[in-house]
Homo-oligomer: 236 residues x 2
Amino acid sequence: MQIEVISSVNEAQADRFTHRTVIVIDVLRATSTIVAALEAGAASILPVETVLEARALQCGEHVLAGERFCRKIPGFDLGNSPEEFTPAAVGGKRVVLTTTNGTRALHKAMRADYVLAGSLNNAAACAAAAAELRRDIVLLCAGSHNEFALEDGLCAGLLISELRRISPTVIEMNDLGAAMLGYYRSSGERLRDMLLGSTTGRKLIKNGNARDVDHCCRINTSSIVPRLQGDSLCQT
Amino acid sequence: MQIEVISSVNEAQADRFTHRTVIVIDVLRATSTIVAALEAGAASILPVETVLEARALQCGEHVLAGERFCRKIPGFDLGNSPEEFTPAAVGGKRVVLTTTNGTRALHKAMRADYVLAGSLNNAAACAAAAAELRRDIVLLCAGSHNEFALEDGLCAGLLISELRRISPTVIEMNDLGAAMLGYYRSSGERLRDMLLGSTTGRKLIKNGNARDVDHCCRINTSSIVPRLQGDSLCQT
């Protein structure tokens, strides 16, 4: 099995996704939030690229959620903090989500055979689901504003570590994959501090969202694997 | 002081270099070879982007050197193996060098205030020279065919480690810088094996150039700091 890690949405070329499984990673916070929303019983998540698209879908059956500049969008029901996505807020409902990087990455990945959403929270489950799909895997780090984001790289390293543990075949990876695996392995007990010190982590702390980092840095707390089916992410 | 690590030539936007010092890193092998050439007494190194440009400069006073697909270019005096650059081969002479990634990266960096060539071999000396220039620093990993190369990332991590050791001011870095510093620190005694296992390392072994990897993985064996002056790299 081949695993390719891509450092940011900017680096993603759609033709590299053909016949592959793509795991989109946006730890702070889109893919962690998508996992939380499905965990809380949301029926599905529709990722859209613009605020305008999201507003056009505003109706009683939809929950509008998302952020720009790490802040909730005015008039939306929810922001992009995983802990806002409670059963009371989203249970049984369709969530329309737009974020700066994560939803863009999901759209870019759509040419793949399968698209999953990965986070530190669901890494083991996500790796197991991806292995069962028997395709080469692309780990698409959403990054932040077209640049590599540390937390997404760490999650890519964790996913590779999980895939190596469960895969019956030899795993080959690109150089960024090897680097992220090594970097993740060196993190040990410092993972939370590393996330707090990352560019996005510092922005979230400044905006009063340090709790989100605490939520998103927990490893393998969820067995939910969001998978793109048509235009929406549902639980596999 | 701010340090930004850029993952490959492809990612390099010239406007990010203005008013900065750029250290171009192509461990396997261009910047290691440039250090070796100046160490052996070459008068200067002229990096050119194409084989055609190099051939146009062919004359008794120039040594033509370079590679395509990791192999010596037909009709050239030397390839791109650092150990070919002996005093007998290049002493007192001007070397015209064209390589797949490294010379392209040097050309991209030319808008910077200062351009240095960094490698594992000269990291401490290069970091000291860069710190003295009192500019923010860009570590431009040449990468391989527009993708991140593991050995360049490790060298970026080593350079940051050296800069932190000697800088009197606090160093801020982008997320890729933090990741590469962590990755380098985790390498320990395995650095040579990591280079041998990298994409370019494996290609070099296949082509019978494993000795080059042995040469390029040695840390701080040279005090030579190549610096771009006009169109050529000279010893500072």
